[in-house]
Subunit: 199 residues, 2 copies
DNA sequence: AGTTATTTGGCACAGTCATGCTACAAAGGG
DNA sequence: CCCTTTGTAGCATGACTGTGCCAAATAACT
């Protein structure tokens, strides 16, 4: 047999090529040909690791979600570890900030997320993963807002989640206006005005 | 000559066909052929009213924005007309609600908006119109928040605009979870917690 | 009635797309 | 050494795209 390649690593490398194409030219342009070129592979090679174009895209989306989840896990532990009020507030801010495109890497991630989650509206294959991410964000928002009254937690969680989604979308679409500084200021202000939940 | 058609009305009718296709199948599928079929015209006819595919899309986007602006104008006047505090609060809620997909028509509008504004990220022809809409929403947010301190108005306007964008996006992508009731509750809650600006 | 400008319809072309299929190179195990 | 498995590459096909170009049908105006 030839070089005996680590198939999983190859699939992840191709997924990264998908991200690059989507980032630069939109999901619409993430054809097998363009992705193969971005991955520096022949189109036939890419097809050896993915049976379908759909499977390529769903794998890439799953990979993106896994990456976000990995980052969030570490931050969640930080919140639980923080006992002092000031520490907890900072930990919460870091945790929620992980959902915002505050640095170039996460900006690219947010771009790809918006492209995929929007495409999921009309592409059934992508819908389950997009849904999982949507609900995951709500779960985090609810957990962070434990301190508010039970009657309000549902509305407040939705408000926080919508704010995070909106900031991410705005930063993706108008990056020169919605800078990391603006996002941090808005998130901080939002947490300041919450009853007595997070501080 | 033939039937002597009102060219402007025809262009608007074709734009509506664009909306229907984008709504049902995504902007990616808004090809000349699909749009022509949705408009019940021959492809050559559509091309008679639009020199370009790009011109067709930019016209449709401009048309969408004009429609939103028309709706907002009426609401803005209502805010100025309201003198009593309770009236003003209701007028503001109606005005901002105009930016949310609270009924089926506005839901379709929001779907098309998201498709276009996202596409504008990688399609230069659409960028100016998307930008205008983005800034228009900020202008409204700032005007509504006149009451808050000058130091905070920038951050608060961004927070309100991001919340509106986020609610719209979430309702477009997960319409069974983010219902009009949820959106109204979240917006109401947000206005309640603002300093003493709107009430 | 004839002319002319507008509208409509469609053909042809070059490009892109996903995918079924085949062919071949390479390296590990017998 | 051979053979079998794995990876790589590419050809062929049918479908779709925007656009240049052309031809016909239509109705208003002279």
């Amino acid at each position: 047999m030839p070089k005996l390649v680590d198939a999983d690593a190859r699939r992840r490398a191709v997924a990264e090529a998908v991200f690059r194409v989507v980032r630069a030219q939109g999901l619409e342009q993430a054809s097998l040909r363009n992705v193969a070129e971005a991955a520096d592979l022949a189109i036939g090679s890419v097809r050896h690791y993915f049976t379908n174009h759909d499977e390529l895209l769903t794998f890439a989306l799953d990979e993106l979600i896994a990456r976000v989840e990995r980052r969030l896990m570490a931050r969640v532990n930080q919140v639980y570890a923080a006992t002092a009020a000031a520490d907890r507030r900072a930990a919460v801010e870091d945790l929620l900030g992980e959902l915002l495109p505050l640095d170039p890497d996460r900006h690219d991630e947010a771009v790809v997320w918006l492209e995929f989650t929007n495409a999921a509206r009309t592409r059934p294959a992508l819908a389950p993963a997009a849904r999982r991410l949507h609900e995951g964000i709500r779960a985090i928002a609810r957990r962070v807002l434990e301190g508010v009254g039970a009657a309000e937690v549902a509305v407040e969680a939705e408000r926080l989640a919508a704010l995070l989604d909106g900031l991410a979308v705005d930063a993706v679409l108008q990056p020169d206006l919605i800078t990391p500084d603006v996002m941090r200021a808005v998130l901080g202000r939002h947490l300041d005005t919450l009853p007595r939940a997070v501080h």
